[in-house]
Symmetry: D2
Subunit: 344 residues, 4 copies
């Protein structure tokens, strides 16, 4: 099946190329950007030196003649404008931006500070948290691929919420990310000498992924409340860790927690539950589509500590997008995604 | 005043040399280790190439003839044994290890897994959180220098606890540290290729700094409960950040929180409160004795988020030890400690 | 075809697992180590959590019944002892250590400081620089897989030597490596806090890869002399860069140099020659089997500057080993090796 | 003595503030930038939170009324324009840019690609390589502070050149730098995700520091020829290492080389010669004004390998500038500069 990538030169787009180039079922029909038309993708991306793809402009009509699926790896605000055209042309959309994730356009505009996508598009979009929404993804015309923080956080919280173990109040999510999540455009905040040997906290109480997480949590647990959510920038390129502190409705043990997580995620090859007393580190999923989760019950405070790690560009972006494309296609969800994490 | 350093070749000891060598009031009389007697300190520490100090064995009696203050920068378990000898010889002790911080020997043994120091020593030891205990430090014969995590955490929580704003329950402390906190001995857990481009969580619910923090919090607030405390290893050498989530007894605003912090820390030159909407990063205190604190009130969750950063080897170890020595001496507390953070 | 890996828990062995697990032609029959028999490989290597392989002891006879090829990813000194047994049992050997590379046992003992392999084994071993020795590798019973520095250096120098452009005297090779080349055992020299934010030079004039490089250069150019060779440790995990300064027999231009390199490496998919005025960085080959080379002629000094980069664990170790296994098998040399470099 | 800093918000300017704020002889009279007038220096530089200095515009006349020395820490091209004004007003100038270092204006324009400073200014400027030019610096009205690479390289080569041991031909300088040398402005080439876990070579044969080094070498040795000079970007913030390969006029030994270096640098407290078989790493001078040098003679190739390290922002910029100011003042050259390197 032929696919096109819009926004091919950003980190998300480049990761899609990495995955789709060697994919057993998909073939890259074309790469699109908002500039540099005619240049070869390898000219500014020397790691792709052996590949030949000319960059093309973003013309939905032309793309619709080449491809059945389009991956939108564009900055926030762009998909909101592009999605309708592809939708009307009958091209399936997998959107990696945040534009199509929030069902409520006002909420989008409050957190993202620009105009929301058309309501008909938002209504059609299926939230692409693969492990929890495969049934709808399979039928979708538009997949709103989850954000990196929401993926790590929701996969970590899902068993406690869907099984009604969580109290749903006073949940703390302390999230940490590598710098590639900030994208490819240089800025003072991503300048090497400012980031190296430095740990920062940013967007305190204001990260646009908060409503995305809360929207999904509310689907799982009726009286789910607001979460405390902080994001930190860690001096590394790839990786996200969410450390989550959850009050439970009943006392439990680490053993019981583990049993719950293993049961819930049985049959989901990309979620790997750690053995007791072992917690995951980000490097153990580096370059892969895995989400590794460790859990412990703290008897002193009567809270569960849940730790979830992903590669933000893989399970947190391009990897999950390809997983969703596999589901759309009706193929094995692991197709093209079973590479082993790069270690060390 | 002459001082000696025991454990001079570890990271804490080397940082003491850096500070004391150019200190206006102290002179290094001798350096001591448990091995390598007779070797020059610069032989295994090329950054000290221009200095001449022979390493000597640890003989309290001899040391007592040279020095009025001894800094113990030894691993946990060693000070518990050495402290009594120095105490009986009338040498003032500033202990950087965790051995003399917990008043309750059983608690020590539960968390540290080896024998506690003699009760008479523990009774005599004054907890050296300089900003909050100067009155007692001034008179002390033994100063138990706080741990790195407790320093960042307690300075961050103190205004909310001492002023009775905190509920004292359900406090979450999500702490992150650079790798130098693990000391100078190589191990699988500090091997470069394992740590670089990696973020780890460790000692979940089990860090030995938990009882130290809770002991002090209970001094400040009557019904203070257990805290949730997690520690993460960040791929950087120096720096600690504590991100703290605190439920308050009343609704407030970020502005009011800031006023509280500024008032409480007025006249304390090493604690710098950030302006509104600015949060500290670890690099802004690199190599210095500052503790920088940022605060915000989250109206959605009705909790305060407090962020506190220090250099773990400075305010979290050697810097605070020298600050305590200044206080002991009756000198200006900033003597020898006003170097500007190394940036970038 | 079934293969076994001896030394499966080191960085070279783990990288072999990563490559062979998803290889179209090879199947991992067994993993062997000198300890930890019976443990699952994933127990100490959480990135492999989804794999099931029990570690087995090193018994050549048993291995010979399971596998046609054995990869030896053992420390220097071990292959010298093991190789004969496998050879006599008719198992083909691909040895990643330095033990079988030097034809002259005295030279080996001078540089490696322990006993050389038996002469019959050394005589049988074929030097596995894939691009330059495929004809012999195809027939080999033992392949001595090249070292990481020699691979980067020899691929960079080969066109100038084989085509007799180099003077062969006064060649300077200034090589730089990431830390994973030092292996998985922790030591003071690989302790995170010592390596991070640090650049070191090591083994000046004494690196054991010097005779390996000179042996091959002498095969290519009659009056090839000793090289100046320095190795530096760079604060990163993966990657090698060799910067080489070569006096030529005639004046030339960068354009002519480029033409030479492109011609020589035509048909060699893993060697990618940079366009004029572009030099490779290590990240552009991260996690891949590529060797990227840039060249320039310096008219001021009449010397060529050649820059060659590889991933030390891939083209510098496991990747080239699999490439050689492909050649041995008579398969496409790129089988299982065409993954795109991980970027960023 | 009062001093002003022009270009106070760049990395060089900030490092000057760090050094001059606690200097025994100098007092910062004012800070100047080309923008942000009226803002406090701490507003955009939180590590300086405790300091109060308003940024002022660059008005040489006003500055001349406040200060006797002005430090120009401005980008290349700016000093060329500013220097004459200060010179004519009788303010002593220490210029950290490259604008006043090359005596030949055409050479400057060839390598720097913009207009050279007025000839009268160039004629007046004294090259501020402190250890080798103190006699002239003492009398100077304008000091052209050396570049970071030239400082490391020239201090390393000086004994071989001034004592006529070097052949002066075929010298190779393979230099490596941390990223702070690229300054504070973000760009694609200093974006964290591009630099981290990456090693780059840049400006091959074209670095503007080449003529600066050759100009000084020619002063020391009559038939000194062009050098091969390469610069690499290492994933760290601070530090420069020059690895130098020098053909000598006679065979020698490492011991004799060491004796030469020790003799030449006796009485120069900032140059520390390593013991035999020990080579310096960049971290051992971190944050300090030291230049550490290691040497070895390679009997196989008959060349000397010289390794020299500095902190590029200290001895390579602000530190040497303050050293030169000390010399100008007639003070101890080490005043305010004897802080111990930050380690680890």
């Amino acid at each position: 099946m032929k696919v096109s990538i819009v926004g091919a030169t950003g980190y998300g787009g480049l990761e899609l190329i990495r995955l789709l180039k060697n994919h057993p079922h998909f073939e890259i029909a074309s790469l699109h950007t908002s500039s540099k038309f005619g240049r070869q993708i390898h000219e500014d991306n020397p790691h792709l030196r052996h590949l030949e793809y000319a960059l093309e402009e973003i013309d939905p009509e032309k793309i619709s003649k080449k491809s059945e699926i389009v991956f939108l790896a564009t900055p926030s605000g762009v998909s909101a404008k592009l999605a309708r055209a592809f939708y009307q042309l009958g091209v399936k959309i997998i959107d990696l931006s945040g534009d199509l994730r929030l069902k409520n356009p006002e909420e989008y505009e409050e957190w993202y500070k620009h105009s929301a996508a058309p309501v008909e598009v938002l209504d059609e979009a299926v939230y692409g948290l693969s492990e929890w929404n495969a049934k709808h993804i399979k039928q979708a015309k538009i997949v709103a691929n989850p954000g990196c923080y929401p993926t790590a956080t929701l996969l970590g919280l899902a068993p406690l919420y869907t099984e009604q173990w969580a109290e749903g109040k006073d949940v703390i999510v302390d999230a940490k990310s590598g710098v590639s999540g900030a994208g490819k455009s240089p800025s003072a905040g991503t300048h090497y000498s400012e980031i190296n040997e430095n740990l920062k906290i940013y967007k305190v109480h204001q990260h646009q992924h908060i409503p995305e997480i809360e929207q999904q949590l509310a689907n799982w647990l009726q009286d789910s409340g607001p979460i405390s959510f902080s994001t930190h920038l860690v001096p590394m390129t790839r990786g996200i860790m969410s450390t989550m502190y959850v009050k439970l409705r009943k006392r439990t043990t680490t053993k019981e927690l583990l049993d719950l997580y293993k049961t819930v995620y049985e049959g989901h090859p990309f979620v790997r539950i750690q053995p007791q007393d072992a917690f995951p580190c980000t490097k153990q999923v580096y370059g892969s589509n895995f989400c590794d989760i460790g859990v412990a019950f703290d008897e002193r405070t009567n809270k569960a500590t849940i730790v979830s790690v992903i590669d933000n560009l893989m399970k947190g972006a391009a990897g999950q997008a390809v997983q969703n494309a596999n589901i759309l296609l009706g193929a094995e969800e692991t197709a093209g995604l079973l590479n082993i994490p790069l270690y060390p």
